[in-house]
């Protein structure tokens, strides 16, 4: 008899714990319902922080895909509520000067009409003095399919080759991507 009472007591205690767990879980799902949208806003702001330099993010629907090879994250900006791609921002890297393992990584923002909205060198391992200036340089590129302005501005050859390669890589795929070639 006593064994049964003990087991019952243990069972009831376990049930109390389970009940408490369920109550807490429900409470949290309520809090989550209220905070989740705000949290998404915060996370998106961080993710798309880089894009904010080129575009007013609130004007677009934002999404992204992971590129392969030389391409990192590709951000897709669509007109709000539509499937029309207004702009694409590419994370692309290419060989710079200092050694096989160090690449120049750039963010290149291209509009649907192939005009270049902006670009930024995100990271590089060039020795200071040579390529250190490239982060802030204006490379004179305004159309992605017309890089003629580039050579006249850039100074040092190897480094700027890396940057030119980045632009070229983007130029090669932009038409296909705008035409819906990006799988989300």
């Amino acid at each position: 008899m006593e064994g049964v009472t003990k087991m019952n007591k243990g069972l009831i205690s376990g049930l109390v714990l389970l009940a408490l767990g369920i109550v807490c879980g429900l409470l949290l799902s309520v809090v989550n319902y209220f905070t989740a949208p705000k949290i998404k806003e915060v996370e998106d702001a961080i993710k798309y922080e880089a894009l904010a330099e080129f575009y007013t993010l609130a004007d677009y629907d934002l999404s992204e895909v992971e590129g392969t090879g030389d391409f990192g994250t590709i951000f897709i900006l669509k007109a709000k509520g539509t499937e029309t791609i207004e702009a694409l921002v590419y994370t692309v890297s290419a060989q710079g000067y200092s050694g096989a393992n160090q690449k120049i990584q750039m963010l290149i923002a291209v509009n649907a009409d192939l005009s270049v909205e902006g670009y930024k060198v995100v990271s590089h391992a060039e020795s200071t003095g040579f390529g250190a200036d490239i982060v802030n340089n204006d490379f004179g590129v305004s159309e992605i399919d017309d890089l003629s302005g580039f050579d006249s501005v850039a100074g040092v050859t190897e480094t700027s080759n890396g940057i030119k390669t980045c632009f070229n890589l983007v130029g090669q795929r932009i038409a296909a991507d705008l035409g819906g070639g990006l799988s989300e």
């Binding site: 767990g21 807490c24 879980g25 949290l28 799902s29 809090v31 989550n32």
Partner: protein, 191 residues
């Protein structure tokens, strides 16, 4: 492969759980007065860490993410750890009573050890895959054991040193820990 080696090295020394990440300080100061207890505690922690990190990693991936209830993470993780410690206690009591007695109160205290819950959460926030999680957790645990052991050796010697009254116990231990922290922070430049 060398990605994993880097991960292991960094977990052991550069991001050392005690001296850089400040997790596991309570046992670090509380259990490190004797070499034998430091060793025993360290091994128990490694064991609990490995199993709890594996179980919580699997739970997060296949249950919490699947049902979009990631916010239940803290509750689920700590309950897993508490149950695991309970099971280890019961197991040790049956299999090795002397070890159980030696660890004494420190065994249930592993539940509130920041390092155990901390590592479980870090594996998720660093987005490790299963193999990376195993490597990271193992070497974090070994780093914990390593520092605890060195520290216990220092503290054993400290018992014979003329320490000013105000510094006896925790304060002098913390100052010594500060010196250890400088040494470990210099490893950061290696990679």
């Amino acid at each position: 492969m060398d990605n994993l080696i880097m991960l292991a090295f960094s977990a052991f020394i550069i991001e050392n759980i005690i001296l850089t990440q400040f997790l596991g300080i309570c046992p670090f100061l509380g259990v490190s007065t004797k070499r034998s207890s430091a060793l025993g505690m360290g091994m128990a922690v490694i064991f609990v860490m490995l199993i709890s990190s594996s179980v919580t990693w699997l739970l997060y991936k296949y249950v919490l993410e699947a049902f979009s209830i990631e916010y239940m993470r803290t509750i689920v993780f700590i309950l897993v750890i508490a149950s695991l410690v309970q099971m280890v206690e019961t197991f040790l009591k049956k299999v090795s009573p002397p070890l159980y007695k030696a660890l004494g109160i420190y065994l249930p205290l592993i539940t509130t050890n920041c390092a155990v819950l901390g590592v479980a959460i870090l594996n998720i926030s660093k987005e490790h895959n299963f193999l990376e999680m195993l490597v990271y957790t193992t070497f974090i645990g070994l780093g914990f054991l390593f520092v605890m052991y060195i520290f216990s050796m220092l503290r054993e010697k400290l018992d014979f040193a003329p320490v000013p009254k105000a510094f006896k116990g925790a304060p002098i231990a913390l100052v010594i820990a500060a010196i250890l922290a400088i040494i470990f922070s210099r490893f950061g430049g290696i990679i």
